[in-house]
Amino acid sequence: MYVAVKGGEAAISNAHRLLADRRRGDRSLPAIGIEQIVAQLGLAVDRVMAEASLYDRSLAALAVRQARGDMIEAIFILRAYRTTLPRFGYSRPVETGAMLVERRVSATYKDLPGGQLLGPTFDYTHRLLDPSLLNDEAVDTPLERDEASEPVMRVSDILAGEGLVEDDGDMPDGHVAGDITREPLEFPMARDLRLQALARGDEGFLLALGYSTQRGYARTHPFVGEVRIGEVEVELDMPELGFAVSLGRVQITECQMIAQFKGSAKNPPQFTRGYGLVFGQSERKAMAMSLVDRALRAEEFGEDIVAPAQDEEFVISHSDNVQATGFVEHLKLPHYVDFQAELDLVRRMRREYEAAQNTDTDLPEAAE
């Protein structure tokens, strides 16, 4: 006998109780602390901050813990919090040339002002499981260089000295940077908005698209002009004071990808740039972003649009993992009303099909 299910509320509450239990796991082990996540799973925290567009390590770590380590879920939780915060102004553009650099590598010059600085990188580690990490063995304190001796000049500034690279580009006078979290997206997008969307775009999606440009789907012949990671000062203009005050420092990763451009009637042959800028330490994301940014500038340079990575509406509409996961996962919600309508139609079409089949098989018999 069918009894209408009335258990929705109780089922939800019990499911959440079970989730909390699974999140906590074995009670005989100490719970993982937020400070531990910030300190020891820092790159997970960085990714959550970057794709949630909120620079707060403690909250990002809380989200990681709450999400049981599911990155997209953590990003979602932090974004849903971010959206409730008031926005009280724009900072000044951060000066990445004045960054306190912890890592800086250039693939285009052997040596350059400021030097090559490896910093805390996985590069050149041998990816062998490290048994010493099974236990809490003592770790050597890092070596620190003496006072930074010379400014770490941006590679784009070096090339600009010869006029061989496009400059930073102009926005119309009085252009105020948009905010994709406060205005609906409209295509085609200005580059400031596009870069915002890429900066919070899914690392995996951008990585795959960037990779596709290297394999011939919109080839741009890129070189890593440089990647730099470090802290920059965030400053806000205070109208009542008449000068900018520092709000503090944030860690960011910046990538300038240098790409070929053969020139046009308007512009001489020169290098063009793809740009990536991400909160925290995330070289992979910054590099992928810069490849995709460059690919998306195809129209600007009069290049043929032949590949997915060049298609702005395709890339930007699908780069947001919180939107993507929501819509893909909504398919598990009940759809039985619509399914009923489809069932009805399929049954009807099946009857018509079978009737037609019968008529067909009847025909030869009739001829006999």
Binding site: Y2, G8, E35, T181, Q323, F327, H330, Y336
Partner: protein, 299 residues
């Protein structure tokens, strides 16, 4: 900020109905524009809500923007008040707005819905808020927003008619059973959201205000009260709605939309009202379907 001084109260203070007043004003402006241009999709700066995109964030934002402390809210999904996502959204508004909620269609001032329109006729003063996944009726004919906006602007709907015609050419009838396109006030072709086409006639000249929210796609559209909503069709293939062979097995209602419930592994089926409130109300008034009698006998 260290976690030690991050009090739980500090994290959990939200405005009435969750959204801040600035955001509500922005959404209300979009709603007003949508009402002024029936069937036109108004872009709005959809916010990230604490539930996933695709799970009703558009409807939730519309409801949050129009909800007042005096309102009585009903939330349904598939016509039912007790499906999990309806329960979840209703609980959300109880938590963040502390409003009165109901399952009774006629008591509600705002009804948020996914995939159904209640069977009971809605009246003046009521607002029906639809959750919309893909607001663009032309989307599966043309994936680009830049193109479809142009098509709407030029009233270029030939592609849609060709699609419906091809259905007829292939299948002998139009093979669209839900999200069946409508024309609003003789101008915009509109997606009624994935309601079964059974519900389309209820939208026509409805006394209630109908608002549509698509959160992920950042669009709001509306059908004001007493507006023409016509399902697209051809003179020789007029629009028709689904009909069911049997009445509801619980309340005996006819000419309502029914859900098929599988009873056993031997092909046993029963058909019951998709609108649970309508069904319960009829049962309370003594209407009985053929299986309802058995139910009481069994108890």
């Amino acid at each position: 900020m260290s976690t030690a001084d991050m009090s739980s109260a500090e994290l959990a203070t939200y405005n009435f109905a969750y959204l801040d007043e600035q955001t509500k004003r922005m959404i209300r402006r979009a709603i007003l524009k949508a009402i002024a241009i029936p069937g036109y999709q108004v872009p709005f700066a959809s916010r990230e809500m604490p539930m996933p995109y695709g799970w009703g964030t558009g409807g939730v934002q519309v409801t949050a923007a129009i909800l007042g402390p005096q309102d009585v809210l009903k939330v349904i999904d598939q016509g039912a008040d007790d499906t999990t996502n309806a329960v979840s959204i209703r609980a959300f508004f109880q938590k963040v707005a502390n409003v009165a909620v109901t399952t009774k269609t006629r008591e509600a001032t705002i009804i948020q819905t996914r995939h159904r329109i209640p069977e009971e006729k809605l009246t003046e003063g009521q607002t029906l808020v639809y959750q919309v996944p893909i607001p663009e009726p032309l989307r599966f004919l043309e994936p680009r927003e830049t193109e479809t906006r142009k098509m709407h602007a030029l009233e270029e709907y030939g592609l849609m008619h060709v699609k419906l015609y091809e259905d007829i050419a292939r299948n002998g009838h139009i093979a669209t059973t839900y999200a069946y396109p409508v024309k609003v006030e003789g101008r915009y072709v509109m997606d009624p959201s994935p309601t079964p086409k059974f519900d389309n006639p209820k939208m026509h000249m409805s006394e209630a205000l109908q608002l549509f929210g698509a959160g992920r796609e950042k669009r709001i559209y509306a059908v004001p009260p007493y507006t023409e909503v016509v399902s697209l069709d051809f003179e020789d293939h007029p629009f028709e709605i689904q009909s069911f062979d049997k009445p509801c097995a619980l309340c005996g209602a006819e000419n309502v939309y029914l859900d098929e419930v599988v009873l056993d592994d031997k092909g046993g089926r029963m058909f019951v009202c998709s609108d649970t409130d309508h069904c319960e109300d009829r049962c309370a008034h003594g209407h009985r379907g053929h299986l309802a009698y058995n139910k009481e006998a069994a108890e």
